[in-house]
Amino acid sequence: MEKKIIATTSLAGCFGCHMSVLDIDERILDLIELVEFNKSPVDDIKTFTKPVDIGIIEGGCCNSENVEVLRSFRKNCKILISLGECAIMGGLPALRNGIPIEECLNEAYINGPTVGLNTQHILPNDDELPMLLDKVYPCHEIVKIDYYLPGCPPRADLIWDALVALITGSKLDLPYEVIKFD
């Protein structure tokens, strides 16, 4: 069987979901037999070099760069998976949703108790910086997402089982405990 090509990225996430991918432990050796990684922090390939079968997205979108990366994933990947709470619902970064963005920026760069050196009261505005979105968006509110793997982070077993099912075309067994969290 030809190896499937996988790409991964972390947008507005904490890399915890990527850590959870590594938590599949020695099964990563089996995984390497099944897949080849393309653009991904795992192998540090920065740009897509070939068409990808499965794109795995950690984190939601909080700025314009996230949106552009996500859109490029949609363009280059046949299947996209939202991995984890932030990709699926915005997660912790989305706590800023509902607070006017100017208030957030002022708190972070001007008024906050840890702000010491910004004597000129500058809000970051260099053209090189990504532009903040009005709120943090889950990935499916930007592009079409094919599958969702919940959790914070999703358990390694869930990631493993889902990938194997997707790659081998077998049915994924999702017991209640795996998707029920509260």
Binding site: M131, L132, Y137, H140, E141, V143
Partner: protein
């Protein structure tokens, strides 16, 4: 001020369950409930400040901030909008120089939006300092504001003539019309008032009364349709030191106004129904929960109760029946649709936020103050009186096999004769449309927003609990109406506004569904959006109460019956469109940091 607050608390014997009344009294003096007041209340009522704040913040008509001297609450129901609310609102805004939700700088006039106020047959309507203003026009709006600016009192600005019937009584003095269009078994004036209390109860046992109600097969007229006789039987058997009868007059389902008319014209029968229920169930206290929007009826209704006390139809040993003591108190609500749900209503009666309780236990076992409580609709109680008088067999002749008796319909919208129609169950929708003078009908909303939006193919269906149940609300829409924007969107806004927020499903999903609906309306929808709405709506069924469970009905039933409207709006050439715009979403932050948006369109 502190002394006056303590005076008010003492008036209600420091009873924390009377918090609603206490807050009403405080607002009447100071216009709002401030922090200092909350601290005093918490201290004297032995509650936490958070508990008081919970109640204050829950209801539309309490405020923790100063309001204006004159506060205008303009109804935002579907029919108000169909009848020119927008123009009236513009006129108000222009004349006051403020936007809706604001208060003029001199603090004299406040302009606010509110959910359906039960005047669907005379829209657009507003409540101005507790007075109802109906059939508003832009001209009237300007006239009212100009009058207020010149120092006229709100009462002076009401029109010269009052409404019909008892609305014209000095104690009511309202410009509201009853619009009774068709009378039947309930509304016919063939019942000598208090016959049941005077002649029947003294010679009939409680069990016999319950048997008559059971045999009549009457079901609850609020909408849910629980057999009333059975409810009374459960209530009479439940164990508790006291039992309570509650009359649910929190008529909040947009489009219904029948209870308003019953309470205006037939209050004695409603109260007599409560006394009868009290006798049958063995209760000693009756509570009528009156929605705040009907406050203009309060003094009148209290007068009726006072008269009943004078002739011993309330009080001790009523009508000479030894040991039958029963009295009725009216509890004024404070503006919350959810309080029409019986357990939420009970919470509200206890002075708390109107959040539905988990069931079981049902109120018949653990209701008001955790004691057995029978909650009946206004219409049910008034009807029961006639059933007791005329017998179960008489009532069984009316209606059809599945649904016995008559139903008061509140008909509004695009028809020549909006108003109250009493019909027998089993009537066809097409006959109802003929009856109210509706032509060129595109759709009719049966049972309010939580009911169903049906079209022509269903006009042959009959009103009945098994086919088309209804609490009485019928809103007609003609062929010129844009059902999705004018109707479905309005109803979704309503559910979002009125959710109590307890269940995450009801707090979030209607919001998500409205987003999808707007996406479709704005031309960004795709076919899967329609399927998503139908599928996601199922999640709401796990909500605790009927509001949550039915909050998706406007969307689901319009997709079921008017799918072509959705299909016409969605994009055909593409399969997916999230509706997201990068350009629009960065505008706010770029403005905040003062930079020009810059896009890499090759991405």
């Amino acid at each position: 001020m502190k002394d006056r607050i303590i005076e008010i608390i003492n008036k209600y014997n420091g009873d924390s369950a009377r918090l609603m009344d206490i807050l009403h009294d405080i607002q009447a003096i100071s216009g709002y409930v401030d922090k200092a007041t909350i601290a005093i209340l918490a201290d004297k009522l032995n509650l936490s400040a958070a508990q008081i704040k919970e109640t204050v913040s829950f209801y539309h008509f309490y405020s923790d901030k100063p309001l204006a001297k004159v506060n205008i609450y303009l109804n935002d129901s579907v029919t108000a909008n169909m009848n020119g609310r927008k123009e009236v609102l513009n006129a108000f805004e222009e004349a006051c120089g403020i936007k809706i939700g604001g208060v003029t700088t001199d603090g004299n006039i406040g302009l606010f939006s509110t959910s359906c106020i039960g005047m669907n047959d005379q829209e657009p309507a507003a409540i101005i300092n507790d007075k109802v203003f109906t059939c508003l026009t832009p001209y009237r709006a300007k006239q009212i504001i100009n009058g207020l600016k010149q120092g006229q009192q709100v009462e002076e600005l009401m029109v010269e003539a009052c409404g019909d019937g008892n609305n014209a009584l000095p104690v009511i003095n309202a410009m509201v019309y009853n619009n009774i269009r068709r009378k039947g078994a309930l509304l016919n004036h063939d019942y000598p008032l208090f016959t049941v209390i005077k002649d029947i109860l003294p010679n009939t046992s409680a069990e016999e009364i319950i048997d008559i109600v059971s045999e009549s097969n009457i079901r609850g007229r609020g909408g849910a349709g629980f057999p009333s006789g059975l409810k009374w039987k459960f209530g009479s058997r439940a164990k508790g030191e006291h039992r309570y009868i509650i009359c649910n007059a929190d008529e909040g389902e947009p489009g219904t106004f029948k209870d308003r008319v019953l309470l205006t014209e037939y209050p004695e029968m409603v109260f007599e129904g409560m006394v009868t229920a009290g006798y049958a169930v063995g209760a000693d206290v009756g509570l009528l929960y009156l929605r705040y929007e009907y406050k203009y009826l309060l003094a009148y209704l209290n007068g009726v109760l006072e008269n009943m006390r004078k002739i011993n139809y309330l009080g001790q040993s009523i009508a000479g029946i030894v040991d039958f003591d029963f009295d009725i108190r009216i509890q004024l609500g404070a503006g919350a649709y959810i309080c029409g749900e019986e357990s939420a209503l009970i919470e509200s009666l206890e002075g708390k936020r109107g959040e539905p309780r988990d069931k079981p236990p049902f109120p018949v076992e653990k209701g008001y103050l955790n004691l057995p409580t029978v909650v009946n609709n206004v219409e049910t109680l008034a009807t029961v009186v006639k059933i007791i008088k005329n017998g179960a067999a008489w009532y069984n002749q009316l209606g059809n096999k599945d649904s016995v008796g008559t139903k008061l319909l509140s008909i509004s919208g695009d028809c020549r004769f909006p108003g109250i129609f009493e019909v027998e169950w089993g009537l066809k929708i097409s006959d109802i449309l003929d009856m109210c003078g509706a032509d060129e009908v595109q759709a009719i909303q049966v049972g309010g927003p939580s009911g169903a939006l049906i079209g022509e193919k269903d006009f042959k269906r009959e009103l009945s609990y098994s086919d088309l149940p209804t609490g009485g609300s019928m809103i007609v829409f003609n062929k010129n109406r844009d059902l999705l924007t004018e109707v479905v969107l309005n109803f979704m806004n309503f559910f979002i506004e009125e959710s109590c927020g307890t269940c995450s499903t009801c707090r979030n999903m209607p919001y998500v569904l409205r987003g999808k609906l707007l996406k479709v309306i704005n031309g960004r929808g795709v076919k899967t959006d329609i399927e998503d709405m139908v599928n996601w709506a199922n999640l709401l069924k796990v909500s605790r109460c009927g509001l949550g469970q039915t909050a998706a009905n406007p969307i689901v039933s319009s997709i079921r019956n008017f799918r072509h409207l959705y299909d016409a709006l969605v994009q055909k050439e593409i399969e997916y469109d999230s509706g997201f715009s990068l350009e629009a979403s960065v505008l706010e932050s770029c403005k905040a940091v003062r930079r020009q948006p810059l896009f890499h369109h090759n991405a």
